[in-house]
Amino acid sequence: MEKAAESPRKKTTKSPKKPDIKEFSKQKDGGTQKKEPKKDKKLATSQKFVKLKRDLSTMETNIQAAAEAREVQCRTEIDKARKIRLELLEDHNLSSKNKLEQICNGWQTSKEKVVPQEVQAALNHQLQLFDELITEKKRVMDIIQQDLKARDESFVADLKKQTEELQLMLERMDEQDTTLTKAYREELEQWAENVQKEEETKRIEEKTAWEKCIKNLLDTEIEKLSQRQQAVEEFNTQLNDLIFETYENFNVSRNKEVAFFQAMELEIHQVASENIFMEQKLEKLTAENIKLKSEHTRTKAKVSNIKSELSKLRMNKQTAEGKEKQLMEKHLMELNHKVQDYERLQKKKIHFAIADAIKFENMWLTEEAEVKELLERALYVDSMIYEQVLRIPWVQPNLSFANPGKRWEERCTVSQISQCIQDQLDVTQVVAEESIYNESESEAEVGERSSVATPKTVKRLMELLCEEAGFLFEVKIMNLLDSLDDNERTPMKMGYLFNTLGINEKNVPKLVDFLYKYGQQCTKDCDDAEVTQPSGSTDQAETSSAPPVTPDPIDRNDVLQALKCFLDRYNQERVKWSVQSLEARDMSKEKAYWESLGNAMTAEKLKIWEITEMKLEHHHTVLSDISKLTQEIQSLQQENTELQMVHMFLQQVCLDQSFSLSPDVTQIGID
């Protein structure tokens, strides 16, 4: 039974399986459906092919599914059959066991029996039981055998069925295959048709185009050929004409040439004769020529010499030029040096001029002082003479001119003021085109200006200056100055400051003025931004009439700037001034001044002085004589006294000698 059960299963697994008829019909429908939209576009066809392929795969899976279903069914059937069989066998087992027990029991009971009939009966009974058992077994065997037979039959039937199904499936597959191939083929045909059509259309198009082209070409060729033929004919006729013409021309020209030739021959003869003559001439000429050639060579040599000289000269010129250039450069260098030297000298000169000026000034002042002293002495002497010698009351001469320091200062201040005014002009022009001062107005202006700079403001300015320029002081000095009180300190400080800055004390008011103006200018600048530029005079009036009332005459921050500015200016000014002062000295006035100094003592006085001198000398001589005489008198008197003394001594000695001669005599000899 098991074998029979297994073998069909194996068969099912081995052989292809039968799919459901439904599925086939579906696939078929799909196949027919897909035939219809065949003439769609490519997309549709590609989709169709996808579907066809999918149908194939679905068919395969369907077949597999069907086979598996069959397998499963088979399995369940086998399981069922096995179960039934097992139950049957178990039942049979139970019943047979019961029967066996009955039989066994029967044997035991039969052994107990003694009567043969009974034994026979028991045996019969046992036999009956055996028969029953056997019939039962046979029945079961029959059943199982029938089952086996049925299985066998069903297996055969299955096999048959399977072969049929196999056939069917093969047919279906073939069908599908054919449909697919048909579809592909149709597709291919369509493609081919399309391609052919396209090809044909293209070919026709190309053919027509080609024919057209050929026609055109042929036409043009024929035209060209005809043209060429015509041309050939024309040329032929022309050629013939030309041949005739040239032949005639040739004939004519030949005749002419023959004639000409003869004439030429004659001429040749003549020319030959002439030639001989000419040859002779030529010989002469050649001789001359040789001469000329020699000359020519000579001249050539000369020319070459000259050329070489020229080149030499050129070379020389070039070298000379080079040298000159070098010289020029040297000279230029020297010139530069000289210019620099000159500038240096100029500077030196200015420097010396300044120095000279200062020296001169000093000299002047010292000289003047000396002269003044002398004059005073002279006056003193004069007065002495008048009073003591002449016993005349001395009258003070007019010495108003002879106030030398004042005189100098006057001159100086004037120049300084003019200078200052000019500076102011510069300042105003540079800083803010404030106004233009006239020379005539300058004095008043200055006065006004100085008046503007009141002592208070001046002091205030000085203090500011000291504070701002404090860095210039040395620490020691600062310490020293700290001990002083306020009123003393500022002047001291100022003094030190001016000393360090090199500013003359005379220029201090100028500095003050400058600073004041500078401060004003700054404030003015601020005002100018608002006020439009007025005319010079009104502006001046404004500045003079309304001096700005500020707590500080100058801004604290501007002080140093201003000081710096002033110092620059001051130095410039000093230089300028010293130079100018030398130039602008009025020599005539000087001369007059000095002469007036010289003439301070009048001629009469001199005469008086001379007379007095003479008289005095006379007096002196007399006096000296007297003094001499007095001296003589004195000496004589002294002699007299000495002699008197000696006399007295001698007298004493003489007196003593009388007492003791020798020692006294020696003592007198020594004395």
Binding site: K3, S7, K10, T13, R54, T61, N62, Q64, A65, E68, A69, E71, V72
Partner: protein, 420 residues
Amino acid sequence: MDDKLRRRIIAEDPNWSLEQVPFLSKLCLLAIIKNIEVNPIYKELSPSEQNFIQENLNLHAPLKVTSKLIPDGVYWQRRCKELWDNCDVSDHGHSWKRLFFERYLEDLIELFLPGESEQKSILEMLPFCKDSVKRLNIEELLLPIQKLQEEEEQNSIHEEEPKPPLDHFNFNMLLEKLINLEELHLMYRVKQCGMNYQKEMFEMTQRDCETLAQAVKSCKTLKVLHLSLSNINDTQCRLLVKHLLDHPSLTELDFSFNQIGDRGARAIGKLLNRSKLKTLRLYCNKIQDHGAKAIAHALSTNSTLEELNLGVNRVGDEGGQAIVEALKYNCSLKTLNLASNDVAKQTAFSLSSVLLQNRTLSSISLFHGKLGVRGGKALREAMSKNSTVIKFDLDLSGMEEEDIQFIKEVTWANEERASF
């Protein structure tokens, strides 16, 4: 004299032409062909000359010479065509030489009668075959006939006597020598036994199994092992699997159409994580829930397996659910076949939740399940959000036709997207 002779011949023979005179090179080639056993020359020749030899070499030249001398080409094609009517080169790597040797060896093994034919005849062949044989497809193995007859006699006379072992061909010797063998397809059966049916024809003995297991273990190049239709039972399966553990190259194992039950399946589950298997087919066996659970457990930690075929087994709903749940942790499996099992709606629910997560699964086969209408609905909903599954067979699974059609359309759409 010779010249005169030639001239005379030319004059007398009107059909004579220079073309009829064979070239010396051709003559040389013919000589080479003639003496190829004594003096093998091939590689030194030019390609055209080689072609000539391929086309003209004697088909019965001994393999000893030709197997090494002649490379794949027309010669081997000719030999194949001589021996067999239908030759499909595509099955043999498009190499006629391979085809020839593989089929030659297959024929030798299939016709081998243990006990009667000598193993020497095959072993002698091996040195020539070993380089080119990569695949052996053996569809039947004969039993020793004489013994069989004896056994029949014995059966009829002394039923009680123990049967002598009926062993098949011993592969142990063969596989060691075939150094390039990659595929081995075996079927322990006899084709067309007719009325001589015997149960032993369709199963392997214990010794067969042992020798085969050792042979397969010794063959380190083997990649594919098919052992189908051989009635392998659990113990045999366990023995084979035990020897296959940690095999260095095996990637495909096919035990289809056997009698493997839960114990065998458990052993295979153990093998899954101790090998490089990519394909496992256990189609048409007797695996039930326990075996399926063992495989599912292995699957949840596996990362190499790509195809699992458990079709036509007896896996119940529990086992099916276990396998499907394992896919939540697996991201290598691409093809799953659970067709014709007893899986039911729980499996369908699990699968529908897995389909939302898993992105590697591309082909599922579940026909003849008992998924029911509700299972079908769940799967339909899951598939509407899935874009990786290309094939999903659900016929005859108790679902509504509408749902099946919908899922089919989704898979078609996915397939089209994948093909782009």
